[in-house]
């Protein structure tokens, strides 16, 4: 038998509860900042993103400063690992996907501003209706038989990548009641060193869902958050064909010049 008290305590958290938690954590971060450099990445411990609660370490990370570390080198990829069609997500099926055709391009750089050449960039995303071609995605929005939403390419000599795709839709999730993710494309990147590895998400300018999303807001510094937002670039738009977005990516991690010498 369910009493009314149980029903109250079992009620899922709403957006207002999450908003309160996020505001509180932003205040804490600002106070802690006070002259100190703002954190560049999300805190792994960010309770408004409920799934992080049991999935972040509680012990301090151990600092490694070993110039011989294997992690200062990294996997290599080549022309056998990608095909030309992999970077055009609108041409992987018989027909054309529904949605707003876009191109996304930019450069992958290290923290010294040097291009990351010949490295693998992988992306995945929802379709225009906000549905992933993934069995676990239960959002009752239509699948698109002409869109899978997976792409990859290698960066060129200037560190440039380029994808043609459609603009993904926002989608609901079950973090709290009425939780919606802003539209985003997932990106996976490699540098010359394994320590430069990055998995992140690219967002679109002006999305009204930014302030409600605990994953985006887990980056407490506003300027850092804005580094995840692509720029609409009219010069990248193609007449009567597609809209262009530009997004440069800077890989963190110790830059190892000696590796580049050995490799390039």
């Amino acid at each position: 038998m369910t009493t009314s008290i149980e029903r109250v305590s079992a009620a899922p958290l709403g957006q207002a509860d999450i908003d309160r938690e996020m505001a509180e954590l932003r205040r804490t971060a600002d106070a802690a900042g006070n002259g100190a450099p703002a954190p560049l990445h999300p805190s792994r411990d960010y309770p408004p993103y409920r799934s992080s609660v049991l999935r972040h370490p509680k012990q301090p990370l151990v600092v490694v400063r070993d110039p011989e570390a294997v992690e200062l080198t990294g996997p290599v990829f080549g022309v056998t690992d990608v095909t030309d069609l992999d970077s055009d997500l609108t041409r992987q099926h018989v027909g054309e996907p529904l949605g707003e055709r876009i191109t996304v391009t930019g450069r992958v750089l290290d923290r010294q501003g040097r291009p990351v050449r010949g490295q693998l960039v992988e992306i995945w995303q929802a379709n225009a209706s906000g549905r992933y071609a993934h069995q676990r995605d239960q959002h009752p929005a239509p699948l698109d038989p002409n869109f899978t939403g997976v792409g990859r390419c290698l960066t060129d000599d200037e560190g440039r990548y380029h994808f043609t795709t459609i603009k993904p839709g926002p989608y609901p999730w079950r973090n709290h009641l009425n939780a919606w993710r802003p539209a985003h494309i997932h990106f996976s990147l490699f540098g010359t060193a394994f320590t430069q590895r990055l998995v992140t998400q690219m967002y679109f300018p002006g999305d009204p869902l930014f302030s409600f999303d605990p994953i985006y807001q887990s980056i407490t510094d506003e300027r850092a958050r804005e580094r995840l937002i692509a720029t609409y670039d009219h010069d990248q738009s193609s007449p009567e064909w597609s809209l262009g977005y530009r997004w440069d990516i800077v890989l963190d991690g110790p830059a190892a010049t000696w590796i580049e010498e050995g490799r390039s």
Partner: protein, 185 residues
């Protein structure tokens, strides 16, 4: 220095994008020195994590970290995944945990330095984590020497039988349970 692009979680839906067939078969096909390293990934409540993705990078048996392309080789005609060519040792593996939170990697024992570097991604993890798998026969290095025994033990794989090692990853726990994770600054 330019500010880096922040990390975001890999989320729940990477499964049809990042894993690739043979991702855990780093050892060239049929190589007699092949070892298996396997285990579970656990959360802070001791529950297995079925939606995590592990990446492995290591030196070859000769200690070389040059690596080789061809981990996710594809057919330029059909675009289908061909898998590794069975000859080259690329040094790179990628394995999603299964519905039980289990993973398995078949590889060659690394030369010196004798560890496998591991990068952990998961739904719920906002920024990936690095750790290392040392085989019991690895020489003690700078990192192992710097750790107190109960923390060091979390980085050493346990021999199960000939050429099979067990290595669990506990993303959260007390000092005797939680895996040592690394910060390369």
């Amino acid at each position: 220095m330019t500010a880096p692009t922040p990390s975001q979680t890999v989320g729940p839906f990477y499964g049809y994008a990042l894993p690739f067939p043979g991702g855990g078969d780093v050892a060239p096909a049929g190589h007699p020195d092949t070892i298996t390293v396997h285990g579970y990934v656990y959360d802070g409540a001791g529950q297995p994590i079925p939606d995590s993705l592990l990446e492995f990078w290591q030196a070859g048996p000769d200690g070389s970290t040059a690596g080789a392309p061809g981990s996710l080789r594809r057919d330029p005609v059909t675009g289908a995944v061909l898998g590794r060519n069975g000859v080259d040792f690329t040094g790179f593996g990628r394995v999603p945990t299964d519905a039980d939170g289990h993973y398995a990697l078949r590889t060659l024992p690394p030369g010196t330095p004798g560890y496998l570097s591991v990068c952990v991604f998961a739904r719920g993890l906002l920024h990936h984590l690095f750790t290392r798998i040392y085989l019991p026969e690895s020489a003690e290095d700078q990192l192992l020497a710097s750790l107190e025994p109960r923390r060091r033990a979390t980085l050493i794989a346990r021999p199960e039988r000939d050429r099979v090692y067990r290595f669990d990853i506990r993303v959260q726990g007390g000092p005797e349970e939680e895996t040592v994770f690394l910060d390369f600054g």
